[in-house]
Amino acid sequence: VRHIACNGGLYNRPFNESFEETPMLVAVLTYMGYGILTIFGYLRDFLREWKIEKCHIAREREEQKDFVPLYQDFENFYTRNLYMRIRDSWNRPICSVPGAKMDLVERVSHDYNWTFEYTGKVLKDVINLGSYNYLGFAENTGVCAEAAAEVTKKYGVGVSSTRQEIGNLDKHEELEKLIAKFLGVESAMAFGMGFATNSMNIPALVGKGCLILSDELNHASLVLGARLSRSTIRVFKHNNIQSLEKLLRDAIVHGQPRTHRPWKKILIVVEGIYSMEGSIVQLPEIVALKKKYKAYLYLDEAHSIGALGPNGRGVVDYFGLDPRDVDVMMGTFTKSFGSAGGYIGGKKELMDYLRTHSHSAVYATSMSPPVVEQIIASMKCIMGEDGTTIGRERVRQLAENTTYFRRRLQEMGFIIYGNSDSPVVPMMLYMPAKIGAFGREMLKRNIGVVVVGFPATPIIESRARFCISAAHTKEMLDMALSVISEVGDLLHVKYSRRRILP
């Protein structure tokens, strides 16, 4: 448990984060489960090898056997023998907007999930606890949708050119001015894809002779961007300030390996909310560190922008810090604005440099105008510039829903990870079979959840991950909580040893 009180120090609010340890018996049983599944996986591979069992997965034909193998056989072992068995809980087709409630296309499998068939029926009004829809802007009615429809008629949907050529529309410039105002920075730049915003811009910011200090649980796009930049990468423990400071001191004292020249730049890369852990970055301390050691700070607010802070301005707003303390503010429009794409904000000279040097600005086609309009409309709503208080109410509603949902789950006895203010709520399941069972049992009771297992999480930390939305009403949350409690009793996943009194 990490508890930091706000006693006039760096923090202006209490910081409560907990990662309860896996019970030892559960850990041993989890390894046993994976052991049994591995043994049967090898048995199945043996039967496929000797053609005793039909092999459904892609393989080379006999005539191709002499060529370089197309498929890494062992690398698919896990997919073939473990994931396949429970993959009906993943990639479920939906036929509505991913709002607070959604409609799922019903599908069945007659060969243990190797192939699926649609039954033609639709599962109506499934409560959606899996989608990233923090402020509830994923809706096909209302101001945003009408604004996007208007722009579609006026501009069309495709731009088919890059920002540096004729793909630079007035809508894009309007959006970028609005983002800069929303973030409180000098200038901002928008990109058509959240992942690419990281992986294409980090190589434009740092290169050889630079050092990247990256959190160990950073998103794959940050990892890819760091690797593409050919900088030296050092990883510090998740959200661990001591580990980060130690790396910073070593970097400054020893400089570059072998030559011991000082690093050209040191870039600290962190995320605002870690979507798999539900934890919030300890930004005040990291800002204090970067000032002390003269490093740069790259903050990825993919999940926290719009979802955190009294004004929805993200983790900087949540801690009441100055946006100018963060050198590169990055975020996406996917999770809170019901749209797509990403942005980078910071000083004007930095943005002008990125406009000329970023891969995305040079090669990627610009954002589609209706998508841009959706962002503009939802961002104005959050800022209150549309003359209503809808945005502010949604921000408040989300904070309320989050606190309520987390507290109730802990009272029930589940092990919940992360920060008490994070709208991403990981609930621990541990055993591989319970991942599939939880997803299925919840859908039977008309609740859609996302479950995550190894290798996306450590082998003994499989979990269900609830994403709370401002669009969830209290009735929906209570319904969901009662179903989660019922399924939790059925599967015996109320592992917490810390009983919180109601």
């Binding site: 049994i36 429970i86 319970k434």
Partner: protein, 39 residues
């Protein structure tokens, strides 16, 4: 029902569960027999 998720048999196909359970029962039977003979 608890036995299935805890041992991960929940994810196996019926014939695999039969194989596993018969193995388990035969090992348990042998253990009991050997224990008896040993005592």
């Amino acid at each position: 029902y608890q036995y299935l998720p805890v041992t991960a048999l929940y994810m196996l196909e019926p014939w695999e569960r039969t194989v596993f359970n018969s193995l388990l029962i035969s090992v348990a039977g042998m253990a009991v027999y050997t224990g008896y003979v040993f005592m």
